[in-house]
């Protein structure tokens, strides 16, 4: 608690004690009672009265302080001393609670996003270390990170090996191992080992700073719900005040005209209860607080949502369109299998790897990677590239052919076509068919699970787009279980396809891509989601939502959290407005005392605030944490 809050707390305690004492003692004399009750009243509310006076001086009559002042002074005037004092005390309790709760959630969300490094340990030329402000470290400086410390600035490991905890950035709990030559993002915690890092960016441009900036700006982009509440609050308070004035004057006048007793006191009391209910604070505080908490929790799970408005749209997703390569698949080619081998697989792989020794083609690279061992240069003889066909090479003195089906047909070698999707490389040695190597883009672990969880969340339509041929994409589409597949699309074809789907979708359409070459599609969709934000600035720039790591399952996590947050927002809106309207109605009928009015004001606010921060307790569903 701040000193200001402590002071308010002391005032509340003293004023409450005095009021309770007076309620027990019940001073007989009216004037004595008034005098005594004024003591706790003033202790609790002197600042409110002062602010109310200033509000009138500035011609800003409709503020809460003014309303509270009028309501409580009115209660005193009617002889309801206890209620006058109690209303003021409860109002202060409400204010104190709000300021405490807001401060607390501000801090706990700041802790969630605790990736801002305090110092950088810079290594000087003579080898000594100096602690400096990360802001002062220039690009290309050498810094040292010890176990347990945060990496302050993006860079490249010069020496050392360590496991990194990236949880604060990606929500991923399994540590990532880095070695010499690897790039490391700032904001990760070095768990063991000492890393010497050459910085590749300035502090302000580093991952940690950029993410923090993004998260901070996110809550400044207001959602439709916030705009609605803002508009509501603008008319609500004046409307209730006018209602109160009408309630105090009209019924008694009408009664007088009808020849009945006016009951001025009763109607004025009802009007005063109106004023107590009129403060819009419960509404106004709980909505941004809910969004703030929702955005904070999502980023803790590695889902960066760039604005409350996007969170709102994400919650309404009913169509998910994703790009195949880099989203559901790794986007790198790997040897998926060696089939129909007449010789051991390893032999086929060795021959192919050696024949492809000098090729820079990614397919060749994946074959060499699958072989894994160092190549025996002495084994390779003459190599001839056959454009569009493959390669002919001498390996171990034997003529080897590696390439497409056409190459085999040209040479009259019978080959077996492959039934799987991917690129097929046939291998022959001395006119003898050795078998073929299947190279395909591998599905990411959890990709099928991701699609299943989306369906579990009630996403109506899941569509996969790809530039690849139908045959190679179909198998993946079937494994994942998507509803539709559109293949062979050029980049602008993807935009057209998304536009067509946009027309069909009832809710929002989310497009998920790797953020590198699908920027136009990302911006065309209702929500553009990019994967693998960690390490890709392009993805962070282009998308509305960024999944920090490469895990497609985070998509469902994001949608689930967005929905939960929106449910809380809606609960708060309707609960607060509902209770207030109900109490207004009861107050007008004379059924609500000022005590109920105080509940409608302070109680509703407390409940709304507690409901808003409920999302901070979200630990994720079991599926997501594995």
């Amino acid at each position: 608690m701040t000193s200001k809050q402590k002071k308010t707390l002391v005032r509340i305690v003293v004023a409450s004690a005095l009021t309770v004492a007076l309620m027990i003692l019940r001073p007989e004399n009216r004037w004595l009672a008034l005098g005594l009750y004024l003591i706790p009243y003033l202790i609790a509310g002197y600042d409110i009265l002062r602010k109310a006076a200033k509000g009138i001086a500035h011609r800003q009559p409709f503020d809460e302080c003014f309303l509270m002042a009028v309501a409580t002074i009115g209660a005193f005037a009617l002889g309801e001393y206890t209620e006058g004092a109690a209303v003021m005390i409860f109002y202060q309790i409400g204010e104190l609670f709000q300021s405490y709760a807001v401060g607390k959630s501000r801090r706990s969300i700041a802790e969630l996003m605790d990736i801002r490094p305090d110092v950088a340990r810079r290594r000087l030329e003579d080898g000594t270390l100096k602690e400096v402000d990360p802001d002062e470290v220039e690009i290309g400086s050498e810094i040292v990170v010890n176990p347990g410390e945060k990496i302050p600035i993006d860079g490249e490991v010069l020496a050392g090996e360590a496991r990194l905890d990236t949880a604060a950035l990606t929500g991923e709990s399994v540590p990532r191992t880095v070695r010499t030559g690897d790039t490391v993002p700032s904001g990760c915690i070095c768990l063991d080992g000492v890393l010497r890092i050459r910085t590749t960016r300035e502090f302000g441009e580093s991952t940690a700073s950029r993410i923090l900036e993004l998260v901070e700006n996110a809550s400044s982009r207001k959602s439709r719900s916030e705009a609605f509440i803002s508009r509501f609050a603008r008319v609500y308070t004046p409307a209730v005040c006018i209602g109160a004035a009408a309630l105090a004057i009209l019924p008694p006048v009408i009664r007088l005209l009808m020849g009945q007793p006016a009951d001025w006191m009763d109607w004025i009391y009802r009007a005063l209860t109106f004023l107590v209910i009129s403060c819009p604070c419960a509404l106004v505080i709980s909505i941004p607080l809910s969004f703030f908490a929702g955005l904070g929790v999502a980023s803790r799970h590695g889902v960066l949502i760039k604005g409350a408005n996007y969170l709102e749209t994400l919650a309404g997703t009913d169509t998910v369109v994703f790009d195949k390569t880099g989203t559901m698949t790794r986007g790198v080619f790997e040897v998926a299998g060696i089939h129909h081998s007449a010789v051991p697989d390893r032999y086929t792989l060795r021959v192919a790897a050696h024949a492809e020794r000098h090729s820079t083609h990614p397919i060749a690279a994946s074959i060499r990677a699958a072989y894994g061992e160092a190549l025996d240069e002495a084994a390779i003889g003459e190599v001839r590239e056959l454009p569009g066909r493959g390669v002919q090479a001498d390996v171990d003195g034997k003529t080897v052919l590696v390439g497409s089906e056409r190459l085999m047909q040209d040479r009259g070698i019978a080959c077996v076509p492959c039934s799987h999707a991917g690129t097929v490389v046939h291998v022959a040695e001395e006119e003898r068919y050795l078998g073929h190597i299947l190279i395909s883009d591998q599905l990411k672990p959890g990709a099928a699970e991701a699609v299943a969880s989306l369906r579990g969340l009630g996403v109506r339509r899941i569509v996969m787009l790809t530039g690849d041929r139908e045959e190679s994409a179909r198998e993946i589409a079937d494994t994942l279980g998507v509803d539709e597949l559109h293949s062979g699309l050029l980049p602008d074809g993807k935009v057209t396809e998304v536009e067509r789907l946009l027309k069909d979708s009832r809710g929002a359409l989310a497009f998920v891509g790797d953020g590198i070459n699908d920027a136009p599609v990302l911006s065309r969709a209702d929500v553009g989601i990019a994967m693998g934000g960690l390490g890709s600035d392009a993805a962070i720039e282009a998308a509305d939502v960024v999944l920090m790591d490469d895990d497609p399952r985070k998509l469902a996590t994001g949608i689930r959290l967005a929905r939960k947050c929106m449910r809380i927002v809606k609960e708060n809106i309707w609960f607060s407005i509902g209770v207030k309207l109900l109490c207004l109605a009861l107050g007008a009928l004379g059924l609500a005392s000022m005590w109920l009015a105080i509940f409608a004001d302070v109680g509703v606010m407390v409940l709304a605030v507690l409901n808003a921060v409920r999302i901070l307790l979200d630990r994720g569903s079991k599926k997501e944490t594995t």
Partner: protein, 72 residues
């Protein structure tokens, strides 16, 4: 031109009122108050003198909410 200012304000409704006042101040194209972060992001109109405009914004905000503060 865009600038961000640190603010001090106690209640959410007061923050909303500050935002209204800031938006109504000449020279301000758009002002967004972020109550949770206690920040005011202001986009100034072209050619506006940010310092002078912000002094006016602060005066206007103080008029509606006595307790608030904008750190210029």
């Amino acid at each position: 031109m865009k600038k961000s200012y640190k603010i001090e304000v106690d209640c959410a409704n007061c923050a909303r009122k500050m935002e209204e006042e800031a938006n109504a101040t000449p020279g301000v194209q758009e002002a967004v108050v972020n109550f949770m972060l206690l920040k005011m992001n202001v986009t100034f109109e072209e050619g506006a003198d940010a310092k002078a405009v912000m002094r006016a914004v602060r005066d206007n905000c103080k008029r509606v909410e006595d307790d608030c503060e904008i750190y210029l």
